[in-house]
């Protein structure tokens, strides 16, 4: 994909709305300390306050400011999405290009390894590992990357193998190009669409997995997370009997949905959907 097409495609309604949502979340995550004066773990306030001018979304059952939790939760989600997707992208692309370009027995061995990874069901493994390892954000990120890169490697390798025997690569070779030049100028540029899809898909997967694990209580308690918020809100017995769910439960759910939606929209726009 050329830069011009990327810009053009992002200018579609879907692309613009997706980018707008995504950028506002990024803004929230970066500017969180300036948007709220409370820290997310600050339990100095009275519990179960209704929304007021000091606590825009009230406080939860131990007196934490829900609004600042929401803001800092965006940091966690976006950071996990960023690290996991770039980790998967880098490892998957390197492994895929290397395996597909080298070919031969090495390629065969590597792909059997990837097949084994692909056979292991993701979610159960993540649950088990998250339960046994220390509940830490880095463990979750690690597991998501380890379980994610084989997918990227597989697709990248398939594309690399097609490109390796194409006429323009042959021409570059005949003109005296080395492997490095061929990979840099002829293979990697052709992988951009795959890379974009990988980033979008892995970001969505990371956001949903992080929130889901946090919701199940397997998240990292030291980082504010939308999943944790939902978990506490739901486990508070009276949440549905008062109006509290409206400012305690719903905002976190809406945030998760919106963030995932923004990635879906950007992804669809980049694939050329109007």
């Amino acid at each position: 994909m050329h830069e011009i097409t990327v810009v053009q495609r992002l200018k579609s309604p879907k692309g613009i709305s997706g980018l707008a949502i995504l950028c506002s979340f990024i803004f929230i995550a970066i500017a969180a300390p300036f948007l709220t004066s409370y820290s997310p773990d600050d339990i100095s306030s009275r519990p179960l306050l209704e929304p007021n001018s000091e606590h825009l979304l009230g406080t939860d059952d131990v007196g934490r400011d829900i609004f600042s939790n929401l803001l800092y939760g965006a940091r966690t989600s976006l950071a996990v999405a960023l690290i996991v997707s770039s980790g998967v992208l880098i490892i998957g692309t390197l492994a895929g290009v290397f395996s597909g370009y080298t070919g031969g027995n090495l390629d065969r061995v590597m792909m059997r390894g990837v097949d084994i990874f692909l056979m292991i069901p993701d979610l159960p493994l993540i649950l088990i590992l998250a339960a046994y390892l220390r509940p830490s954000l880095w463990n979750i990120i690690f597991i998501l990357i380890v379980m994610g890169w084989p997918v990227g490697a597989r697709i990248t390798r398939a594309q690399t193998r097609t490109l390796r025997v194409s006429g323009h690569v042959d021409f570059a070779r005949i003109s005296g190009a080395g492997n490095w030049y061929v990979i840099k100028r002829h293979i990697v540029p052709d992988l951009y669409p795959i890379m974009i899809t990988t980033i979008v898909m892995q970001s969505i997967r990371a956001i949903l997995s992080e929130s889901g694990l946090a919701f199940l209580g397997l998240g990292d308690p030291s980082y504010p997370s939308w999943g944790t918020m939902i978990k506490y809100a739901i486990s508070y017995p009276l949440v549905f009997f008062t109006d509290a769910w409206m400012w305690w439960l719903m905002p976190a759910g809406v945030c998760i949905t919106l963030l995932v939606l923004s990635f879906v929209l950007v992804g669809q726009a980049l694939e050329g959907d109007k």
Binding site: S166, G167, H168, D170, F171, R173, I174, S175, G176, P189
Partner: protein
């Protein structure tokens, strides 16, 4: 190897094995004991029907395929641009849809051989001249186009321009004009003849079209089913050929079913 020849092909065979689930699938004998010499500064026409192994022969010379048996030897050339004394061979591939990277502009495509060879310090005018000589004018309007916005014939001309830009010792042109209309096709043939006159470059001109081959070639080799069935100078082939396949080619050309350069039964 005597002085006048550039490439000597000795009893080369190439068999493509079919790797099927069951091993009883037939092998394809793309080249069968082919011997041929390419002389310095000549235009060698290779004609033959589809699947007769013309492209395979070209790829073997280019080193993209390894010969199954026999060997291909190159003349030593005193040339500052080639390091190991091997002649520089460039190629115009048959399929211009596959041979131009769709991530590069025309300018980058044409500049690529120069960039690979001498790292950035090349004359940008050469690109303009090369594009002009293949008839892609006005050049400025083509420089920043991507191949997917070009027609098949325009792509093929980009491919021709970039093969010629480094002024190699030899160009293998695999049906370079089969996608072009007749007048441009003749222009390209004249351009090749002109280059040959100016720089003494050697051409191997692969085609279906005996009329085009007769127009440009000094020597012609006729291939059929992986074998060279006839080899001789242009006059020999046209006036007193002996193999019936050549005769049938000539007959169809003279009756007009095969003398249209834009006709391609690939």
């Amino acid at each position: 190897m005597d002085n006048s020849c550039l490439i000597k092909i000795d009893n080369v065979s190439k068999v493509f094995k079919r790797k099927g689930m069951f091993r009883n699938e037939p092998e394809v004998k793309a080249l069968d004991n082919v011997s041929l010499t390419v002389k310095k500064g000549e235009v060698l026409g290779i004609i033959g029907e589809s699947g007769s192994g013309k492209t395979t022969l070209g790829k073997l010379i280019l080193g993209l395929l390894k010969p199954g048996s026999g060997n291909i030897s190159f003349a030593d050339i005193d040339n500052s641009s080639s390091q190991n004394g091997k002649p520089i061979v460039q190629v115009i591939f048959q399929d211009p849809y596959d041979s131009l990277s769709h991530m590069m502009t025309v300018e980058q495509l044409v500049a690529e051989p120069c960039i690979i060879q001498n790292r950035k310090n090349f004359d940008r005018n050469r690109i303009v001249l090369a594009l002009e000589s293949v008839g892609l004018t006005p050049v400025e309007s083509f420089l920043h186009k991507y191949p997917h916005t070009l027609s098949g014939g325009q792509r093929q001309r980009v491919a021709i321009a970039r093969a010629m830009i480094t002024e190699p010792d030899m160009i293998i042109a695999d049906e370079p004009i089969s996608m072009l209309d007749a007048s441009i096709g003749v222009d390209i043939l004249n351009l090749m003849l002109d280059m040959k006159e100016r720089t003494g470059i050697t051409f191997m001109f692969i085609t279906h079209d005996i009329a085009a081959a007769a127009y440009i070639s000094d020597n012609i080799a006729v291939m059929k089913e992986g074998k060279i069935v006839e080899y001789g100078s242009r006059e020999q082939i046209i006036s007193d050929c002996c193999h019936e396949y050549t005769k049938s080619l000539l007959l169809s050309a003279s009756t007009g079913t095969f003398n249209n350069t834009s006709f391609d039964d690939k």
